[in-house]
């Protein structure tokens, strides 16, 4: 009996439990009267069905994870296993081959010893499957029967079901949190391995980044100075992109909230939102194939030295455009959150619209705008595709926007693409970079949300 049919079976049992408990509760309701019974019939049905399904399902999940080990142990005690090789590696090779044949994933054995183990494997699998199925069904029946005996007029099935629903929802929300914790843990673990090979100080404050030469073994200790990467990230994401996104986003929000007629606003806002939905790789093309060559030609024409076809400016400008919708929608929200009475108060004193915006609306909305900008920065420095395509790979520590710089995310991509061994500092450096990026964006987000929240409280 395979797992799928056991699952179907317990689901079927749960359905039967639901129907029978509901029927019983309906009878109770008829004899005692609707108001004398605490819960409606379908709540009793759901309660019994859940008791039938959940314990059995939990057991089945656990069993499916435990049984392979039990099967292997059983096979190892079989007489055919006596001739297995002693060393762990070849032993497990033979065992897994035998298992593949036994479960039908492989046709014939490469190793004659495996062939001999197929029969004991098959019987062990069958045995444990039957044990599992029987135990599951017993649990399903026991759970169902226990719950069924509780179907009484005064039993609070409705409250119990409510509690179970809440538990289910809690579980669902925990999954995202647990995943995040897992991600952080893996980052921390791999970073710790990296920092056991490379001094964290020389990583955080070193100015020379050349992981490729480190891979060849020359002075690995000093090849992982990440300062040029941090600088490149800040230069592109927090300086150039923000120089574009903050003024344009803010002006856009002011126009949309204060000047645009409703008809104009109606079509302009969706278009801005589309801008936020364009895949970043498309921006990447645009930056690499259109903007970067234009900028290089311009730089060459006016005689700026160090101009490269992959420039910080190209990546930063396009990233800034990409960020405009974030800034403008945050600014839009916070300007709209400033009470109408503030605007009226200012207008009634004879201030013009732009004086009102400059002196009342923007100062009042500023915390919200700052929060939006911080969120935009954290988004910009974590952005990968545009910089991979347009910013280049050379780890230059330069303030020339026409030169090529590289960023944290670009280097992570470089370090992890292709075949890699996961025990060299070159590969592990990607995790250390990821950790730094994670911490910085996390802090930015926390600060931004605090700022936004504080400001919201001020007006509500």
């Amino acid at each position: 009996m395979n797992a799928a049919s056991v699952w179907l079976l317990i689901i079927g049992l749960a359905a039967i439990a639901w129907l029978s408990a509901r029927a019983r509760a309906t009878l109770l309701e008829k004899s005692a009267g609707r108001l004398a019974t605490h819960s409606r019939a379908h709540y009793h049905g759901a309660y019994v069905a859940l008791w039938t399904l959940l314990p059995a399902a939990l057991f089945l999940i656990v069993w499916q994870n435990v049984s392979p080990a039990l099967v292997t142990n059983a096979v190892l005690t079989a007489p055919e296993a006596a001739s297995l090789p002693a060393d762990a590696f070849s032993r497990s090779t033979v065992l897994s081959e035998a298992r593949s044949i036994a479960t039908g994933h492989a046709q014939s054995a490469f190793n004659p010893q495996s062939q001999a183990l197929v029969a004991p494997y098959r019987s062990a699998i069958t045995r444990y499957d039957i044990i599992g199925a029987v135990l599951t069904l017993i649990l399903a029946f026991a759970g169902g029967a226990f719950a069924f005996t509780r179907v009484k007029a005064d039993f609070k099935a409705r409250t119990r079901v409510e509690r179970l629903v809440m538990g289910g929802l809690l579980l669902a929300s925990l999954i995202a949190i647990v995943t995040t914790i897992g991600i952080v843990a893996s980052l921390l673990f791999e970073s710790a391995r990296f920092f056991s090979m490379i001094n964290p100080l020389s990583f955080l404050f070193g100015t020379k980044w050349s992981p490729q030469s480190a891979a060849l073994g020359y002075g690995a200790e000093h090849a992982f100075g990440a300062v040029p990467l941090f600088w490149g990230t800040i230069f592109i994401g927090a300086i150039i992109a923000m120089l574009v996104a903050i003024p344009l986003g803010l002006m856009c929000a002011i126009y949309l909230t204060q000047y645009a007629r409703p008809a104009v606003r109606q079509w302009m806002k969706p278009i801005l939102e589309i801008l936020a939905g364009v895949p970043t790789v498309v921006y990447g093309y645009f930056a690499a194939l259109t903007v970067a060559p234009l900028l290089r030609d311009f730089a060459v024409a006016v005689g700026i030295s160090g101009a490269s076809s992959e420039s910080a400016l190209a990546a930063g400008l396009v990233m800034g455009v990409m960020i405009i919708p974030f800034v403008s929608s945050m600014a839009d929200d916070s300007i709209n959150a400033v009470p109408q009475s503030m605007r009226d108060g200012s207008l009634a004193m004879g201030a013009t619209k732009s004086e009102t915006i400059k002196r009342v609306l923007i100062p009042a909305a500023l915390p919200g705008v700052v929060g939006g900008v911080l969120l935009a920065v954290s988004r910009a420095i974590g952005e990968t595709m545009i910089v991979v395509m347009a910013a280049g790979l050379a780890a230059n520590l330069t303030a020339n926007p026409f030169a090529s710089v590289t960023t944290v995310t670009t280097q992570i991509v470089q370090l992890l693409t292709g075949d890699q061994e996961f025990d060299s500092p070159k590969t592990l450096a990607a995790f250390a970079l990821g950790l730094v990026l994670f911490i910085v964006t996390l802090l930015l987000n926390i600060v931004a949300l605090r700022v936004v929240k504080k400001y919201r409280e001020a007006y509500e």
Binding site: R261, M342, L347, G350, A351, V360
Partner: protein, 264 residues
Amino acid sequence: MASTASTSPNISAPIKMAAQDVNVFYGDKQAIRNVSIDVGMDEVTAFIGPSGCGKSTFLRTLNRMNDTVASARVEGRITLDGEDIYSTAMDVVQLRARVGMVFQKPNPFPKSIYENVAYGPRIHGLANSRADMDVIVEQSLRRAGLWEEVKDRLQDSGTALSGGQQQRLCIGRAIAVQPEVILMDEPCSALDPIATAKIEELIHELRGKYAIVIVTHNMQQAARVSQRTAFFHLGTLVEYGVTSDIFTNPREERTKDYITGRYG
């Protein structure tokens, strides 16, 4: 028509603002019908009437605050010292500097008390120096009856004051621009009785320096603070006259019903 008949009750004060046959529409809905009224110089004029009678709407036509409502449309002629305020020659920004406004809910800016008062003078360039501005701020706050309470904490936020103080700050802020007319839209409706009494006292003190138009739900308040009272009902001006006449000897049946509390 009753409204035209009651345009100019027997008052002696010269006319500051005059409205003739004013109609106001919000989209297709007419909020004000053929209202004609004169506002006397250096007097307090009260607009009373049940909720939704159009008195606030009409008040907002006097400094063109209805311009900020996209669907609002004003017909008729309103003059300030004989100048048509809806003509193209009239600069709405200048108009609002001359006709100040205090709102129903106190709405100080989220700035310091000082900056709240300095806001208007700064925009209109009324002060040449920091010292000038200090004088304007002090005078305005004194006139608003708030100076003694806040003189030691001018840098505190205006929003940290109590409701009544906030409303007096808003009055001080309006005074700082040196207006000729002050419109008050139910200035006490969000305040407790003590704060209300202070505002009423303040209105008494301001009378004679400014033409004041006050919209109120509170008939006792109208009787206490105003020299003339206009009764609005369903968008029309029912009766307009000397306050004591309106309250003791109303000519119209509807006015009588309203002030005796039969409806409203």
